[in-house]
């Protein structure tokens, strides 16, 4: 086993960013994208593989179909309609989403097509009720500048988001329709050579450019990135899906590059061996021959009426277990491959005897298939409907092993590895969307988009800094929040401290959110009104957080209600003086002991009673007055 060197591998990484657009409706109907916590409708579908426009089947679609799952959909009429259920043709393309996509393409200097064709991209894992994702290529070319370097844009697409997977129990998959149809912009960048940390910078810059439009969705799941990874001499591009966080990116790219380089090493070794090719002829059923095998896995399979088969691979001994780098083995690759047919795994000759499979069981197999010490074999147990499909894909995989990297789609795991997901789909997965006519982009629309290109991130921050005297950190926080428009509105009023406004909007509300409260309950109108009340002296600075907490807890529906419920209306001065005097008199002991320093503990006591009802400044002033009075006596 050798050390993997990232530099020598010639790794190229292409980023593909999917960003939800915040148009408040879906791409082909008017439903708002709301997350439901309950569903009022459930239905079931089965999807079938269909031929493409060119008369071919898409390999990824055939693969999915071979898993023959039933799909259950859960719907809520607030967030989906007959269009998402595939019970009604799509409505017209949403204009807002189209215009925003044009603005984004313009900001990336991408060449926009004057005729755009909505296409159906075959996806039959059930994540789309239709069996396809509606997608359209908006533009090609262009670039984004990252630290003075131009990173090329390959293509920009406008498409529908998929349904959310909410359960997968063997033969039934469950999806919710809330997210289905939400507009997404997909930006694919040119593959670049470089360290994963640079890739991360590119992703961040692109994310900022998108967020500068102020019309993209934020939060978990609203931006997703796929990466295409290839290595020098690997010959294939592998697409890795499901990279949730940028921090994960480095680990994933590194793992994937190592895996691909490992596969090349395996291929090199194989090329030197006598191994050529295997066919279905080297498969044999051994269900009856292994009746007395003591392995728990085999016994369970027999009990479930599964079939056990063995595959002989001549001149392949040692190849399943050969591990050019740690964790990279052909045996593991094949184990992952069969998992996607819902099969637990395989046993290969390089790891046996083990798992309760004994020497005598192996002897049976060896005799039946005339296996000698140069040959390898592989045991698989699976239900009759699946086993041949799985074996066929194993044979294909083994026959490809001397060629190196296979073009496929893989899934990022939480610990930074990648696992096989499905074959890489080809052009045959695209079909024209016959329900929607081609979309024309007029010169006028292009001009409007050009005019609406947002200022760059840095420029915007500089402006906020200069106009409101915010420090850069706060400027960035408020610019990147959903409150930027509200902030500018409130801060434009005289005698308001923009830094204070920004910190309430960005840190106070965020803190309350972190404590599990719901910021959606706090409307912009109520926030604005709160600052008005503050200006008029109706409430104090200190009470803002109490009010917001009350509203975000759902205890009050409005500012006025919250003031009543938390009884924090500002006290008039006479009443306040009365209370402070009472506190001072009750704590004479402290004052006499600590003299002027008694202000500290007394302030604590007073704030406990008066927080939100009077400003700290005022309380402090009155306390000092009383302390002096008592000491003066």
């Amino acid at each position: 086993m050798s050390e993997f060197s990232f530099e020598d591998a010639g790794v190229k990484v292409g980023l593909e960013i999917h960003q939800q657009l915040n148009t408040n409706k879906k791409l082909f109907c008017n439903c708002p994208p709301i997350e439901s916590d309950e569903y009022t409708k459930k239905f079931q579908r089965k999807l079938r593989a269909v031929k493409s426009e060119l008369g071919e089947y898409d390999p990824a679609a055939l693969f999915e179909k071979s898993k023959s799952k039933i799909i259950s959909y859960y719907a809520n009429s607030q967030s989906s309609c007959l269009v998402e259920e595939d019970e009604e043709p799509p409505h017209n393309l949403d204009k807002d989403a189209k215009n925003l996509a044009l603005i984004i393409a313009s900001s990336l200097k991408s060449n926009i097509f004057s005729e755009i064709y909505p296409m159906r991209k075959t996806v039959i894992d059930g994540s789309n009720t239709t069996g396809f994702q509606r997608t359209m290529l908006i533009s090609q070319g262009g670039f984004i500048e990252v630290e003075g370097k131009k990173i090329g844009v390959q293509s920009i697409c406008l498409e529908e988001d998929a349904a959310k997977l909410i359960g997968d129990q063997g033969s039934i998959r469950e999806y919710s329709l809330d997210r289905l149809g939400v507009p997404l912009v997909e930006i694919a960048l040119e593959p670049v050579e470089g360290k994963p940390s640079q890739i991360k910078k590119i992703a961040l810059s692109l994310g900022k450019l998108l967020r500068s439009t102020k019309k993209v969705t934020r939060g978990i799941g609203s931006i997703r990135q796929d990466v295409n990874v290839s290595v020098k001499d690997g010959g294939a591009v592998v697409e890795v899906k499901g990279v949730q966080q940028l921090d994960q990116l480095e680990k994933i790219v590194e793992f994937e590059a190592k895996r691909q380089y490992g596969l090349i090493k395996i291929a090199e070794k194989l090329k030197k061996s006598k191994f050529e090719e295997i066919t279905k002829d080297s498969v044999r059923e051994i269900t009856d021959d292994w009746k007395s095998c003591k392995s728990k896995i085999i016994q369970k399979a027999l009990k479930d009426n599964s079939i056990i088969k063995v595959l002989k691979i001549p001149d392949f001994a040692g190849m399943f277990g050969y591990s050019p780098y740690e964790g990279i083995r052909l045996g593991k690759e094949i184990g992952q491959l069969v998992k996607f047919y819902g099969i637990g795994g395989v046993f290969h000759s390089d790891e046996l005897p083990n798992y309760g499979i004994e020497e005598k069981d192996i002897e049976i197999v060896k005799n039946l298939l005339k296996i000698n010490e140069n040959d390898a074999f592989l045991i698989i147990a699976a239900p009759a409907v699946k086993i041949d499909l799985a074996i066929e894909s194993i044979i294909n995989r083994i026959n490809f092993a001397n060629k190196g990297v296979i073009a496929e789609t893989r899934l990022a795991t939480p610990n930074g590895d990648t696992v096989f997901l499905r074959p890489r789909p080809g052009a045959s997965r695209m079909y024209p969307e016959t329900d929607v006519p081609p979309i024309i982009v007029t010169k006028k629309e292009l001009e409007v988009a050009e005019k609406n290109i947002p200022k760059s991130w840095d420029e915007s921050l500089k402006e906020l800094h200069e106009k409101y005297n915010l420090n850069f950190q706060l400027a960035e926080q408020v610019f990147d929040s959903k409150y930027i428009d509200l902030f500018e509105k409130i801060s434009s009023k005289p005698q308001i401290n923009p830094t204070f406004v920004a910190s309430i909007l960005c840190s106070s509300i965020t803190n309350l959110e972190r404590n599990g409260l719901n910021s959606k309950l706090l409307t912009n109108e109520e926030i604005e009104k709160t600052f008005e009340y503050l200006q008029n002296g109706k409430i104090t600075k200190e009470s803002i957080e109490i009010i917001f907490e009350n509203i975000m807890e759902g205890k009050s529906n409005s500012l006025d209600e919250a003031i009543k419920n938390t009884s924090i209306e500002t006290l008039d001065e006479a009443k306040l003086e009365e209370i402070i005097e009472k506190i001072s008199n009750e704590n004479k002991g402290i004052i006499e002991n600590q003299k002027e320093r008694a202000i500290g503990p007394l302030m604590g006591i007073a704030m406990k009673n008066l927080r939100g009802k009077a400003s700290g400044e005022m309380i402090n002033k009155l306390l000092l007055k009383n302390i002096k009075k008592i000491l003066g006596n």
């Binding site: 239905f43 079931q44 579908r45 089965k46 999807l47 079938r48 593989a49 269909v50 031929k51 493409s52 426009e53 060119l54 008369g55 071919e56 679609a61 007959l82 259920e85 595939d86 019970e87 009604e88 043709p89 060449n111 097509f113 004057s114 005729e115 755009i116 064709y117 296409m119 159906r120 991209k121 075959t122 039959i124 009720t129 239709t130 069996g131 396809f132 997608t135 359209m136 290529l137 090609q140 070319g141 293509s155 697409c157 080809g426 052009a427 045959s428 997965r429 695209m430 079909y431 024209p432 016959t434 329900d435 006519p437 081609p438």
Partner: protein, 429 residues
């Protein structure tokens, strides 16, 4: 694929002058360089673009004015259509699948960009491999028309075809049909082929068969299952029961109607449960009586299409009805309000029509329920004027029945008698 589908004017000139046809692989230099296959264009579009399928599968329209260079890479790629021959199993029953068009047989049409019925019955059969495990299916294309283009002459064509197979090796017949007018066709077949010895099912789909979520496959599977196992005869419409790919409904061909524009479960039996439900390999029977009221097969494949269906509404003008009466119509089926009424304003015209010998039948625009013309005075007035209440016949079914009756009789008394005689469950008790 024709060589220049959809291209005209400037774009057609462009293709010709560059020696290109649809299907050619090209490399086009415009603002950037694009490689792909030239695709057909839709008729309603301009002549200033060419459509290219990029290697990624996306189609795009390239502005001719911006193209600076075109390079042909390879010639027309044949759109592959591999015919799969299905092996027959002598122990299975035989089914005939007749295709007449509709969404069930549709895929993309390069003339308009929408879908068009061009799949053959053979293709339909081979796209649903489950069918060959239940039956040996022979296929035949009668014609390829959308529902709205199916005319009474097409009904005759279908009926005449079916007569050929009344006594044959087939256990049943499937007719793939567009959904919009499927219940008109099923009604005509029910009357013209009363007593037909083997079951006939009309099957359509609400999502075209070129999409993975098409309802066509399960509808065909359900239909085949029904034909093989039902042990009865009659004319039925077989479609999804609800939004799930689970239960298939089998409706009486004279009691069914399309009640939704787009849902899979658009078809409903009016006023009752579907005659049969097909769930996986089980068939649940709700029907209580025989479909045909005659046990003898007595084909009467004639019709006279001179029947008008008049939907009455507030504001309906007497002179419009007058025009119909003055034309050569031999019958008018009214779709009256409620229990079967039309406004006083039409009484004179109705009287005139009756005197002219035009058959006048009353159905209700409520669709569900029986007309009852003795409850209100206006109903009684209309009865006196010669309008015949048609029980709970669905208006469209009454229309088709009148066409059929008129095609078989000139005698007003006989026409009235047959209109009120239950032939094929078009009226319920």
């Amino acid at each position: 694929m024709p060589e220049y589908t959809g291209y005209r004017g400037t774009s057609l000139e462009f293709l010709k002058s560059n020696n290109l046809v649809v299907g050619d692989s090209v490399k086009i230099t415009s603002d950037l360089t694009y490689s792909g296959i030239i695709m057909p264009r839709y008729e309603h579009q301009d002549d200033k673009h060419i459509v290219l399928k990029l290697n990624s599968g996306y189609n795009i329209g390239l502005d001719l004015d911006q193209i600076s260079k075109v390079e042909k890479l390879s010639s027309s790629e044949k759109i592959r259509n591999i015919e799969q021959k299905i092996k027959k199993n002598p122990s299975l029953p035989n089914i005939l699948l007749l295709s007449t068009g509709g969404t069930i047989a549709s895929k993309v049409d390069y003339r308009t960009g929408a879908v068009t019925p061009i799949l053959t019955a053979e293709e339909l059969n081979s796209s649903v491999p489950e069918l060959s495990k239940m039956a040996n299916i022979d296929t035949e294309v009668l014609f390829s028309e959308y529902s709205e283009n199916i005319m009474p002459d097409h009904w005759l064509q279908i009926a005449n075809k079916l007569v050929e197979f009344a006594d044959s090796k087939y256990s049943g017949i499937i007719i793939a049909h567009g959904t919009d007018t499927m219940h008109y066709t099923s009604s005509f077949l029910s009357f013209a082929l009363a007593g037909y010895p083997i079951p006939v099912v009309l099957v359509g789909s609400q999502r075209s068969s070129d999409r993975a979520s098409s309802d066509a496959a399960l509808n065909l599977i359900g239909a085949t299952r029904f034909l093989v196992e039902c042990k009865t005869n009659g004319v039925y419409v077989v479609m999804h029961h609800d939004e799930s790919d689970e239960t298939i409904s089998c409706h009486y061909g004279t009691r069914v109607r399309k009640n939704h524009t787009s849902k899979r479960s658009a078809f409903e039996t009016i006023g009752d449960n579907p005659a049969y439900l097909i769930i996986d390999d089980k068939i649940q029977k709700n029907a209580k009586d025989d479909y045909f009221k005659t046990s003898e097969f007595t084909p009467k494949i004639n019709l006279d299409a001179r029947v008008a269906l008049v939907k009455y509404y507030p504001g309906y003008r007497a002179d419009l009805l007058e025009k119909i009466i003055d034309m050569d119509y031999r019958a008018i089926i009214f779709e009256g309000t409620g229990l079967g009424h039309i406004g006083k304003i039409l009484y004179d015209n109705v009287k005139k029509a009756h005197e002219k010998g035009i058959f006048l039948g009353m159905t209700s625009q409520c669709i569900d329920g029986r007309v009852g013309m003795t409850v209100y005075e206006s109903g009684r007035d209309l009865l006196n004027l010669g309008i015949v209440p048609l029980e709970n016949m669905i208006p469209e079914v009454a229309l088709v029945k009148a066409m059929w009756v008129l095609g078989n009789s000139d005698n007003p008394e006989e026409i009235k008698k047959i209109m009120l005689e239950n032939i094929s469950s078009e009226m319920s008790k």
